[in-house]
């Protein structure tokens, strides 16, 4: 027993010394560190490629090579504005999965506000690096200036409501929040705020607006991304034609009576027979905001008039409906999606719809 103990200590120590000197030889070998340094620098070069594809999105040559397989994987058969794939992890994941000679190897993806974190690995999986990419592709800076809220007053008894955003750096979402963006939220936010939310994970609805959330859930989504639900007066600022104080009700012109009822400007109920609606189908406003009029309805937070929190202009109303005017809003209680949850002020109300679709977008202020 006594010898066994001695032999055990001797063998253990010998092994320890052997391993130490083996590693020491490695540590003192300059080639070892040159190799390690090269791997690390190569990983940062892969990060640059990741960054390029993240921001170039559908314009990247890699997307062209994996597009068909990727769309097939997600069951997308309808056309959609592929610019929405910019700053979207879906595109990078497809490149990682389908491209033969890929410029990087993603081994894990997660979200750590305000960034997506992609873990890149070298080919031998000995070194890893975490790369953080921000999603700024779909935000637009609102020029500083004086803006107006709501429809132009018909007489002097009503205040012509104005405000300015000088020295404020306001960014708004170019397009409505999509189902795929909600999917991403649900994937990473396991808190009680996401309980009960269901969206489709594959199919043509992925890049259509998320339209089945309550007002509180919309607020929570924006908040999770460090933003806030679009404020009604900033929506007006971004849509009334180029800071037009006279406030034409149409986003494409200063002329008050130039109501172009073409589907190219307002996607109304009449357009549904001609083509499928999708995000960004019409021209954006002067500031770059898409779907100012028509399409699905859109919810806001209105700090001036709480009751006017819904852009009712949508494909639920015919082309000659008076809802298709900027600054003219309905009320949504923010809870349900049936007719009783809305106040359309008795204008062109069609009772044939069981459920209305309400989209939303976010905005945020950033430091100078």
């Amino acid at each position: 027993m006594k010898y066994f103990k001695r032999i055990f200590i001797f063998v253990t120590l010998s092994l320890f010394v052997a391993i130490f000197f083996l590693r020491k030889t490695q540590w003192d070998n300059p080639e070892y560190f040159v190799r390690k340094k090269t791997i690390l620098l190569n990983l940062t070069k892969s990060a640059q490629e990741l960054h390029r594809i993240w921001f170039d999105g559908e314009d990247s040559r890699e997307w062209g090579k994996v597009r068909n397989q990727c769309l097939q994987k997600y069951g997308i058969t309808d056309g959609f504005d592929e610019s929405m794939l910019r700053c979207h992890p879906l595109l990078l994941e497809c490149v990682n999965q389908f491209l033969d000679k890929k410029p990087f190897k993603i081994v894990n993806t997660t979200f750590q506000y305000p960034n997506y974190i992609f873990t890149l690995s070298d080919n031998s999986d000995t070194e890893k690096i975490d790369v953080a990419l921000t999603d700024t592709c779909h935000e637009i800076y609102l020029e500083q200036g004086v803006y107006s809220y709501g429809e132009a007053p018909k007489d002097h008894s009503v205040e012509d409501y104005q405000f300015d955003n000088f020295n404020r750096y306001i960014y708004f979402d170019q397009h409505l929040v999509t189902n795929s963006e909600i999917n991403e939220w649900l994937k990473f936010d396991k808190s009680a705020t996401t309980e009960g939310i269901k969206v489709e994970t594959v199919g043509n609805n992925l890049f259509l607006p998320a339209t089945n959330l309550s007002l509180k859930q919309m607020t929570n989504y924006c908040s999770y991304n460090g933003k806030q639900l679009m404020l009604a007066h900033f929506f007006d600022a971004a849509t009334f034609f180029s800071q037009d104080r006279t406030r034409s009700p149409y986003y494409w012109t200063k002329k008050r009576n130039e109501n172009n009822q073409s589907c190219d400007y307002i996607f109304s109920k009449d357009c549904l027979n001609l083509k499928k609606w999708r995000i960004n189908i019409n021209s954006p406003s002067w500031a770059g905001l898409s779907d100012s009029l028509g399409g699905v309805t859109e919810a806001f937070r209105n700090p001036i008039d709480f009751e006017s929190n819904l852009k009712a202009s949508s494909y639920y109303f015919p082309k000659n409906s008076s809802w298709h005017r900027l600054g003219f809003r309905a009320h949504w209680d923010g809870e349900g999606l049936s007719l009783r949850n809305f106040d359309f002020k008795g204008i062109d109300v069609n009772n044939t719809y069981d459920k209305f679709q309400v989209g939303f977008r976010c905005m945020r202020e950033v430091r100078p």
Partner: protein, 267 residues
């Protein structure tokens, strides 16, 4: 047993190679978020001969590295010393600490910082050496352009090498009306900023309030924005067109009133 321990100590004291030190520094410096240069770039550091100068300071996530250079003098060769501060404080002009990395026999040292790439070029034991560090996490501020998304003044706008979660502040449920909202930026009555701007750490975003109608904006709070609602701050209406209570936006049935902190609140 004694001999074994001695052997370990001896092995540990053996000189480290340039490559090893380069790799060790690269591993940490790629995450540097701020740089302060102590000497002019692009020229060989020759003055003051025989004295130790602060070459540069690199702020990492929760610590900083102070890089000193003992300028060669006559037969005495130069030395690069990297000292680690356990928190982010300004480096002393002369080295007062123990180096975590020391490179001896250095001559003709020149530093360069161009396009967010830091280069240290020097002669080490007669051989030319070049250490390069791409600094992805250094950000010199935001760029705001009409009709465009935000960019940062960094090596690659929108990209950072991730080294761990930041110290977030604020909860999504914090409300100003309940006294829970954290102030992340404060402006005083003279329109001076008090303390540091911490709003980038707000986990659920931040919002501005109307207080002293300063050109650079008002104080800011972390959390969900409920401006305009009862007992919540008024939304800022702008500082150029309006004065006093008119600088705040409240719901139609409420009016903006200054609270004890001189913040317009809707009541």
């Amino acid at each position: 047993m004694k001999y074994i321990i001695l052997l370990f100590l001896l092995a540990a004291c053996m000189n480290n190679s340039i490559e090893k030190e380069n790799y060790r520094l690269l591993q940490e410096w790629v995450y540097a978020k701020n740089i302060k240069l102590g000497v002019p770039t692009g020229i060989v550091v020759e003055r003051p001969p025989g004295a130790e100068v602060l070459l540069l300071q690199l702020d990492l996530e929760k610590k900083s590295h102070c890089v000193y250079y003992l300028v060669p003098f006559k037969t005495k060769s130069g030395k690069i010393t990297v000292v680690e501060n356990k928190n982010i404080t300004s480096c002393p002009e002369t080295n007062q600490g123990e180096g975590i990395v020391e490179i001896k026999n250095v001559n003709n040292l020149k530093i360069d910082f161009n396009n967010f790439n830091l280069k240290l070029a020097f002669v080490h034991v007669g051989a030319k050496e070049l250490m390069e560090f791409p600094l992805y996490n250094i950000n010199f501020g935001n760029v705001h352009q009409k009709f465009k998304s935000m960019k940062t003044k960094s090596l690659l706008s929108g990209l950072k090498l991730y080294s761990g979660p930041p110290n977030y502040i604020g909860k999504s449920t914090d409300r100003f009306s309940k006294g829970q909202a954290l102030r992340c930026h404060q402006v005083n009555p003279k329109c001076e900023t008090v303390g540091e701007f911490r709003c980038d750490d707000c986990r659920y975003g931040w919002y501005e309030v109307a207080d002293y109608n300063c050109p650079q904006g008002g104080s800011k709070f972390c959390g969900q924005n409920h401006c305009g609602e009862k007992n919540e701050p008024a939304c800022p209406r702008g500082y150029k067109l309006f004065e006093f209570e008119d600088t705040g936006i409240c719901q139609e049935d409420l009016v903006p009133v200054y609270n004890s902190d001189h913040i317009l609140v809707c009541q």
